[in-house]
Symmetry: C2
Subunit: 431 residues, 2 copies
């Protein structure tokens, strides 16, 4: 921590107030980014194994040029005709099952989930909402109420019920999709029953399709199907929150829901969509949108504007041209293999799981019990930062390493990550 950083910390507290948080015991002061690399003010470089927003790499020139060119030409809104929003909607919907025939645009994933909830309520006439126990879906009032990950003191709502993510019993290594799916669906059934006991009905089951903040649960493929059938039978819709999993990250498909053989009623998306430019949106079944469209017009001043659409379109170009979905599949598999190899030398490493370049590594005090090693996880995250590798922790106790790099991450970067992790684990203070 330099004297300059101390001064910055003091300025932050004074100017931005008490609600903002920083990563790391020694916060990072970044000044430049390129590809998978971030540089601090002293010119030191860090391997970025965490930031999914800069999905096609920090400062990708094609995206920067698309933004600059369109910003110099025209930036208006969706109350004038413009081909940009239509061309992009068409490209986006082509990446989705045909049943999801319409798109709407917002600026943030929070706004996308907030709008999805409004649309689900208009369609179902119900207000109940089912989310997972450590879910995160946004920072507007209704999405924050659907985000238990914001903490015990976070906002609560009488219309929200939580269910254990398909992690709770740690069945995922051995159990079949049917077994995991049944257990998750049991939770959803119980939530529906409890809503009904309070005079409510479910408008939606809303889940991040890789359960990013619950601890990252992707296998066995198919486990989501039974819970989705349950909520539909009770009159609710299924909203797939693809803000973190979407846009090729999971490798085997463009969206996280695909591995479960499902077609959602509403798909929400955001973070990587514009590689950092604030653009987000929804894809929907037209029959689910109809009631909202009859009741209410929708206008988002910056949503779907020509510059945002140019940025989002350039991101799709790069994903296609650089075949980043296939890269996520290949490098993700390599990284998980190497992490499992590392587990043979370090008892602290528990389960390694994930899909593509969305990877979780449980750190455990005891492998048999799976007891979480939260303190060690914080030490590892901070140790990696000192050794020039950036990642973070997830899960209810923050005892799981969350690895979620830009999709231009290569095998050599994965090796550097694993070798550095090896080094940090070897020097870790005894628990």
């Amino acid at each position: 921590m330099t004297h300059t950083d101390d001064a910055l910390l003091a300025r932050r507290a004074r100017l931005l107030g008490p609600a903002y948080r920083l990563f790391y015991e020694q916060p990072l002061h970044l000044v430049r980014g390129e590809g998978v690399w971030l540089y601090d003010r002293d010119g030191r470089r860090y391997l970025d194994a965490y930031n999914n927003v800069a999905s096609v790499g920090h400062g990708h020139p094609q995206v920067v040029q698309a933004i600059a060119r369109q910003a110099a030409t025209l930036n208006t809104h969706t109350r004038y005709l413009h081909e940009g929003v239509l061309d992009y909607a068409e490209r986006l919907l082509a990446q989705l099952p045909p049943a999801l025939g319409q798109a709407m645009f917002t600026c943030t994933g929070s706004e996308a989930n907030d709008l999805a909830l409004r649309i689900a309520q208009a369609h179902t006439g119900a207000s109940g909402l089912i989310v997972t126990r450590h879910a995160y879906h946004g920072v507007t009032a209704p999405t924050a109420e659907a985000s238990p990950a914001l903490g015990a003191q976070g906002p609560r709502s009488a219309r929200v019920r939580t269910v254990a993510a398909p992690s709770a019993a740690r069945l995922t290594g051995q159990a079949t999709a049917d077994e995991v799916g049944r257990r998750f669906a049991d939770g959803v059934h119980a939530a529906i029953a409890d809503l009904r006991a309070h005079g409510l009905a479910p408008a939606a089951l809303l889940v991040d399709t890789v359960f990013s903040s619950d601890g990252v649960f992707t296998a066995p493929a198919g486990f989501l199907a039974e819970a989705v059938a349950a909520v539909r039978e009770a009159g609710g819709v299924f909203i797939a929150d693809e803000v973190q999993p979407g846009f090729g990250r999971t490798g085997e498909a463009f969206w996280g829901f695909a591995r479960h053989g499902l077609v959602p009623d509403i798909v929400t998306m955001g973070k990587p969509m514009g590689n950092g430019h604030p653009v987000a949106g929804l894809a929907l079944r037209p029959e689910v949108l109809a009631a909202f469209g009859q009741q209410c017009r929708y206008f988002n001043t910056f949503g779907g504007n020509p510059v945002s659409m140019a940025a989002a379109s350039a991101v799709l170009d790069v994903i296609e041209q650089q075949d980043l979905q296939a890269n996520a599949l290949r490098v993700g598999e390599h990284l998980r293999q190497r992490l499992r190899g590392l587990a043979q030398r370090h008892a602290l490493i528990g389960e390694v799981r994930g899909a593509g370049l969305f990877i979780a590594v449980d750190l455990v005090a005891d492998r048999d019990s799976g007891a979480p090693a939260a303190t060690a996880t914080a030490q590892v995250v901070n140790g990696l930062r000192k050794h020039g590798v950036l990642l973070s922790a997830t899960g209810p106790l923050a005892s799981t390493l969350k690895i979620r790099p830009p999709l231009v991450f290569e095998a050599a970067h994965a090796d550097l990550l694993v070798d550095t992790l090896d080094q940090v684990l070897r020097t870790l203070p005894a628990a």
Copy 2:
């Protein structure tokens, strides 16, 4: 309407669904913008007298360059240290009364108002909300519920009360600030009493400080003070929604609330802040933010990122360098004078009012009664569009012309607007 535009309309309905709306009977298909001018696909130019987002002019090169330069350098988020967000917060807060000592950043005005409501609830422990009868404050669920302007079928909430804007009695021409203020405060007192009768207390009085969607009411200066005192006495806070009035538009001050001699508890802002780049935010009294900060952390993935802050900072540069606040004052006064001159030739023109470059012109069937001429207003708006001038309508019956051009609007542009309006009024079909 060309064949191509018909095809675009059909694509829009198919791809974006039923909730989107377009301006004008014959929607505009824009392809380029520069300063106060917008160009359609046939190369025809339109004088933009409506778009407040492109506040320093369409495609301003300083803003475009700031965005392009920072996007190529680094675009991360507020969980790393970065000087951009602190430098901008400091500049922004310097434009506000010293009591408003802290800033937070979002991507849209909706998110800013949504967060302001969460903060007001945490501070007051109350949930009631008072807004004006035709207010518009956003599209997240809670802000849409506080936006009766969204229409009779729009969302409703048991915690929201509406009061007549200081327009209701059309007192503003003759009455003193005390008289108008008393009438508005009477409405606020009644709203507080009704909240209490339902077991609620007011968390906030939330108003657009020029009442943009109620019909634009700016005079007599000072009329807001009594209502604000009333809500504070009842334990609530005053949130000044500056999303439309802010950043110099009203000419005599940088913010709309200034003319009322008030210091708000929370100020929200957005639209012109990044000249079209999605950036918005709040300025707050630290003591009002404290309770929220204790209960909850706040992170907005794109909010306050280095690119958004560079765009917002460039907008402040241009406002200062081109002295756009003084321009708004000067050109706005000239435009109102010329519109009042036009009223001598056209009985359809009722009251002309506003501040700086935020101007309203009532169109009336009868000057004595002030009966609104809604059909004629739609004809005038569409007639102006045909004659190459863009503006829109506001107020409960959309019978008021809303003139809100980029701040680089000059006297010659004002003259062109008035001369074109004269021509359109002369050829208007008889009512």
